[in-house]
Symmetry: C2
Subunit: 349 residues, 2 copies
């Protein structure tokens, strides 16, 4: 095996030296530039097929892999698209959307990395993202990104900073995802069906606040606000995701005088409906119960659960937007709503 430069003194020695492009060049009998051209598929440079073959074989033999970081330093720009992740269980809908997005970005030759921002917030998180020098950042739930954070990212070379969330952030391309829409749908449906005192479940689970607050606001909007103009009462109901908590809420249900409840999503709706039925509250006779997400499981309980169905724009569209903004950052298309919501009436309302 050819010689390699000595390793830096910090830390214990690795079992074997890491092969470099210089090793490949020596073994193949070509220049380092040629190695770089061949392994990075630089088509502008004419290199004969036998030479290309020799370089690839030498790289294979030595186990050499180009260093994305070094390459990006030379090129002045990475192909990394960073997706900051949040510590919330990802449902089927969101999971599907993320898969589509990642597939489509890969097809456009981007390297997608997810980065968990837990424990960092606001500008600290933006600085941590910037250290990876992404060419684009797609942030779900823009709550933590500030105009300063966007600026840090852009100065570090990010050409596209896209946020998906309720509030626009200065400097970022904002795609509206307004959870109030889900609450408005549920509220309008319950109002339509004649209910006038509506409970709204607020999950106590960490990480769901960015959804639950806006959904409550949406129900309030649907009934005409909180003041004297409101055509129905809206009562927030904090609830932990346990049978005990649901049982305790069901036990004090008659005292609440509610004729309907929007339970944040189908899982909470199933939990609460079971507890209500077990406590002798009839659904929808005494109280209507409505969920959101249109889970298959919500159709398995009896009565079948009414729900808000949420549809997301395809991930492919978002991937194309990322690419568009990277190539032409100054010609952003008009932002459009990514999420659609509609009520589905079944037996529980």
């Amino acid at each position: 095996m050819s010689q390699t430069p000595p390793r830096p003194p910090a830390g214990p020695p690795a079992p074997r030296p890491v092969p470099t492009s210089a090793d490949v060049a020596r073994l193949a009998g070509v220049s380092r530039a040629t190695v770089s051209y061949v392994l990075n598929d630089a088509s502008a440079v004419r290199i004969s097929e036998p030479t290309r073959h020799r370089v690839r074989q030498a790289a294979e033999e030595l186990g050499y892999v180009p260093h994305a970081a070094a390459r990006s330093l030379r090129a002045g720009r990475t192909r990394i698209v960073l997706l900051p992740t949040v510590p919330v269980p990802v449902g089927r809908l969101m999971g599907h959307f993320l898969n589509e997005l990642q597939w489509a970005l890969r097809r456009l030759d981007y390297t997608v990395v997810q980065y968990a921002s837990m424990g960092l917030d606001g500008d600290e998180a933006a600085r941590a993202w910037a250290e990876l020098r992404p060419v684009a950042v797609v942030a779900f739930g823009a709550a933590q990104l500030t105009p300063h954070g966007v600026d840090v990212l852009k100065r570090s070379g990010a050409r596209a900073v896209i946020t998906l969330g309720p509030q626009p952030v200065e400097g970022a391309h904002c795609l509206p995802v307004d959870q109030r829409r889900v609450g408005r749908c549920a509220g309008a449906h319950l109002l339509d069906r004649g209910y006038r005192r509506i409970g709204v479940v607020l999950p106590e689970e960490a990480g769901l606040e960015p959804l639950s607050g806006p959904r409550l606001d949406g129900v309030r909007q649907a009934v005409g606000g909180a003041g004297s103009g409101a055509v129905a009462d809206v009562v927030p109901l904090p609830l932990a995701y346990t049978e005990e908590a649901a049982g305790a809420l069901a036990a004090r249900w008659p005292g609440l005088g509610l004729d309907a409840v929007f339970a944040h999503n189908d899982e909470y709706a199933m939990l609460l409906m079971r507890a209500l039925l077990d406590a002798g509250v009839s659904v929808p006779g005494d109280t209507a119960v409505m969920g959101a997400d249109d889970l298959l499981l919500g159709r398995l309980l009896r009565p079948r659960l009414s729900t808000v169905r949420i549809d997301m724009e395809t991930g492919r569209h978002l991937a194309e937007l990322v690419d568009h903004l990277v190539v032409e950052p100054d010609h952003a298309p008009e932002p459009r709503e990514l999420m659609a919501a509609r009520a589905i009436h079944r037996a529980s309302t």
Copy 2:
């Protein structure tokens, strides 16, 4: 603003030049080395507090963020821990485990990035991971990693390659996660309760095969194999995750002559149990139904679902193992099983 070198010709110009450490050095009136020492918190070098303050202020003013890649090139090693992700919906159990792992790694000063390997397999995936120069890789489901892939990663500087899965991979540190254990638990429970003709649901959903095949094998192990020594019959039942598919299976149920079914997990068990009840099959009178995962939702149907509860080792332990292997790659501790499984008897079996 100070001058920066011209950008490479490829692509349209970015709105503003990216500030470099040379810009910070100029603004603060110090050397680039001093900037590097201050911003990388090199404690070995004595630098006065006023100078440190001046450097930090200049960096803040210019919006300069150190480049993780450049830093890692200088240090010869990154702090990146790569978690290849798989395109499967992540359940609450796994989501919790991943969160714990990421928190704990961050506390140990690692940068955790998730990388979606979709569309790449085997050695191609390993090469893509190696390009990011991770110091450690934690691969869930080792199916795609080969000894050659491990070698590529180690030669690129990875000091720890950890796989979580059923099969050890040469060169990697393998933590056994054996899904057959879940099947064995379910099989033993059903056998114990006197059932002798056991259906096993095989989800048709993409991405679940690495779980469903071993779970079926586990049930077969529990009943003593497939031959004449078996004390019960095991019948595989492919099933799509739709009400229609479950209804069709329930319609031909009497002809199957099964007295029990292990339905892969609680979601499929709920789907199938609902269809059986609607088709007039009594549970557990005619047929026992068992799930896995111990979802809260499984307790909401009647009869309450029997299940296999799966417990994972804490993510903190795995983070400590990563750090141990990075620091002392030649002194690996004894691998230990990450997953425990036990049957929980409720009303459906």
